[in-house]
Symmetry: C3
Subunit: 409 residues, 3 copies
């Protein structure tokens, strides 16, 4: 890697040369480096005259090339989209393929996966495959295992799907905003040898992605980011970006030294809403809040049937999911089968966790399944709402009562 | 079900007929409907000239009638009562039978239970039997499995107590206020065949209901509700209540459609304190805060004895109960015996959860048992206080020191 | 115990005698009492003319004296020290031996431990040995099992280290401030018979003490305490301290009665920052926040090796530690080996809990290990930061990419 910070600084000093250093950097991207540890061509400048990432394609090391193994290919686009949580409540958010949450992956254990992730926003992103044992070059940690995916760039993740179980993916850049609003989704790895399916024969399988959202935080952070990007573009046009404050480093060691010794902070979220202001006011399952439940969140069951429910906490809240009228069986945690299943009726799902439960159709009726922290059964403070869905037995068509007046105030 | 919203609207339109529609509704209550799915006579109007629920008795379908099985009968009254958390700290709250928490049920597995629940407040209520596998018509979910219990109405819950274990009950209407202050209590189902008693022979058995209370939230919500009810009564007297805004629906499908398509929100808590303002400042065990512990919260033990302690989270907080000087045995979760007990000294009890632990009297002395989040060992910010009790060996009369001056500021 | 409150009040009444009662108290300390339950000489007045604790040494009952058993002796000083969480972020805090967290104890199961704890601050303290089954007179609960350690006093804890496992210690006086900032540390009890070492042969063993810190709360509380102590000293000099308001009691029963009947609150933290204002804005492992990780927090591993990681929650937060690229094995909880280890990739560590995990070196690379609540991967609201460290395989020298510009705003 020959990109040279001293050269850069010299270039900047020379004659108000403006964007001279960008050319320098661009030169690097063309493969000037002979350093063995670094694959060429990664990392770049956005929207600069001499160089941009529109159309660039980054193939990290660590996986077989096309043809060497039979890849199953997925396309993931980072996009800003508007999403409706419930009637009248919309948010703009970074999304995968315009959906909240992102698409559900259903793959086989051992299958070779290729994900072409294209950044169609002006912000950086990555994809972390949470709970998947893949090569670390595919792990999706910006400034850790990869350069973030720049605007316009396509980054190609390749790995074998393993181990089997309920896993998920999410953006690992600027995580508090990106992940807590919408940049996450289920990654389900099936196995022909699944001990859970053997112990509890089932056909139907439900995925519930749990989300806690602070609507105002999401809006304010997104606006601040977009405004910030405009300013950066103006600074670039004037050639007034300062390398140090904007995160130029020749090597990882240099970055690490700057962070630990000089107090340098990567400019992911400087000055934008501190964590203490975040407090979720909307709670969703698969992107929708009660009573506007997503159809795929409604658990349908027949008498005598076992169904599998996969709970994924894709947000920052803590949720305590209570099922009425049943003792379900907790069978897997973090995707991994439990050595001994146990009977429960309320399961806590904390950030970063997945849990699989088996429900047996032994008590026909119409049942609630919801967060037992009732403050998370609200939509912006109005109860009922939020994180709630139903277990509905086939053949039960209506609740057994006449809804009557509920005036209280 | 013949109650007819179009008819109602027409009736309202006609000649400022005022309460005409109330008569209409009242007619429904008299059994006009022939719809097979709906038992007659449920749901009504409160404080209306033509109809009220004072003395009404609702018997939902789904359970054998009196005489068919040997019921053990309990009476539960919803009442507003004043409760003292500790010297000088009182709160008015909705209660069961005037007590905080509600009475402890101790029943046998398989026993037939009949609970006559009378609403002696001007607000709606229900009882949900948390962790009990009963018919869904007895599940106590307002607008879900039953019409809420109206002021003056008696609703009769009938079910078999099962499965064995530590369970609880709570109001499921306007849950954030009702449950987080006081409308909950223990429901203990004993079994002759209890594997826990076999593995750990014990005689004494303690129930600790854990509660997190925001005193100001409770007061403000209660006041807002009472004020709201006055306004409704005035509107009723003038005949100016609007059906849609106040929750009239002919069928459950109609309600559901209104909620999911039109953004209709049932008027449980509209406009009253949003969830983000709730933050517990008092923490209690069985309704009392340290140092004013309830006598039944003090764990007495003899050397060599096993005692059973049942922890129930009846509130919205998260509590991490730490016992000094002992490794207790965690034996049941959500009332269900664990396949493999484990040794611990700190057990997290989240909303909606119950845990049973066995303590062995192997370290005589005077020991603390308290929430390890010290901010919950406070009374309104003053430490020590809150969620704390003692394990006291018989024969140990005093602590082994002379309390001395503790002036620090 | 002959110290007599009536006598005291009489003394105070007599002739504006000022500090007369202090002499009375001092007399007690000299051993006037014949009460069998109370060892003489404990408890005292600070900075009073007639008596102070500078140099005093308290030996509670309940343990063999020097010589009777072979004690291994440790010295612990309570001191105010300045600690740097990361470059430019410093806090003054009560510490053990000037360090944050306190020193790591590594002792053998059954070993006799003697800890000479000297209070070199003007505030009270104690040490609670969390998860250790010791005599209750050594348990460190102020007003519960011991008089707090007064300024200048040395208190001698003596006990056998048991049972084996990952345990910790912390101050139990004014816990919200003392423990949440820095007064805690690891207490590791090794055993020759460790089932975990047998099942997972390992050599390297890491201790990660997790901490959530509200920097402003810590500063404000500490300042308020120091200011309060000045006032007390002035009151003492004038003889105007009132016994009741400042915590004089003849017996524990008297104290208990005052607390439960009269609403008396021990003056630990009166009027100082209520809990509702505490909200952690810094998150640390072993006293340091990302990217300024402490060297001992960096997990080094070789291919094929098992390493043991001991997680201790020494603060008030809830942390969900996620390891990338691996399924680790959860082997112990609260120090006690689990009956059945289980595979996980994210482990929740709540207040008062310890967890041991085994990581197998089966996926060479550079991996993140961090709290999955991303709001706790921030330094005062700036991401990334906080509770984050790395698992680094030996031989992996650099991340596999070129760090590039990360301008976003």
């Amino acid at each position: 890697m020959s990109w040279n910070r001293r050269g850069l600084l010299k270039g900047l000093a020379a004659a108000g040369a403006g964007l001279a250093w960008l050319g320098n950097r661009s030169a690097r991207a063309a493969g000037e480096s002979g350093h063995a540890e670094y694959p060429p061509g990664q990392g770049s400048m956005m929207y600069s005259p001499g160089h941009n990432m529109i159309g660039a394609r980054t193939e990290p090391s660590g996986a077989p090339p096309d043809g060497a193994v039979p890849y199953r290919t997925f396309r993931m686009n980072f996009e800003i989209a508007e999403h409706e949580l419930l009637a009248g409540v919309k948010m703009k958010a970074f999304t995968f393929n315009g959906r909240v949450p992102g698409p559900v992956f259903r793959v086989k254990e051992g299958e070779w996966i290729k994900v072409e992730a294209t950044n169609r926003t002006e912000e950086m992103h990555t994809i972390h495959w949470h709970g998947v044992d893949l090569p670390y070059t595919m792990d999706g940690v910006p400034m850790g295992t990869q350069d973030p995916i720049h605007p316009g760039e396509t980054f190609v993740y390749r790995f074998q799907a393993r181990p089997a179980g309920t896993r998920f993916y999410h953006c690992h850049w600027g995580t508090p905003l990106h992940m807590s609003s919408a940049l996450h989704g289920a990654f389900i790895v099936d196995s022909d040898n699944d001990p859970i399916r053997k112990a509890f024969p089932y056909e139907r399988d439900y995925v519930l992605v749990l989300e806690a959202i602070d609507l105002e935080f999401t809006r304010d952070e997104l606006n601040a980011l977009l405004e910030g990007m405009k300013q950066v573009n103006r600074q670039m046009a004037r050639g007034s970006l300062h390398p140090f404050t904007h995160g130029f480093f020749r090597t990882y060691a240099e970055l690490e030294r700057a962070m630990s010794k000089d107090g340098y902070v990567p400019p992911y979220l400087p000055g934008v809403a501190p964590q203490r202001r975040w407090q979720a006011n909307f709670f969703a399952i698969n992107g929708r809040s009660f009573p506007a439940m997503a159809p795929e969140s409604l658990l349908s069951i027949r008498k005598g049937e076992w169904i599998r429910v996969r709970l994924i906490n894709g947000g920052m809240g803590s949720h305590h999911m209570h099922l009425h009228g049943h003792q379900f069986v907790h069978v897997a945690e973090d995707g991994n089968p439990l050595p001994q299943p146990k009977r429960m009726n309320t399961i806590s799902v904390f950030p970063g966790k997945t849990h699989d439960i088996m429900i047996h159709g032994d008590n026909p009726g119409f049942w609630h399944f919801h967060d037992h922290n009732s403050f998370q059964n609200m939509n912006n403070g109005v109860y009922p709402g939020g994180m709630m869905t139903h277990l509905m037995y086939e053949g039960i068509k209506n609740p057994p009562y006449v809804p009557s007046i509920s005036v209280i105030q």
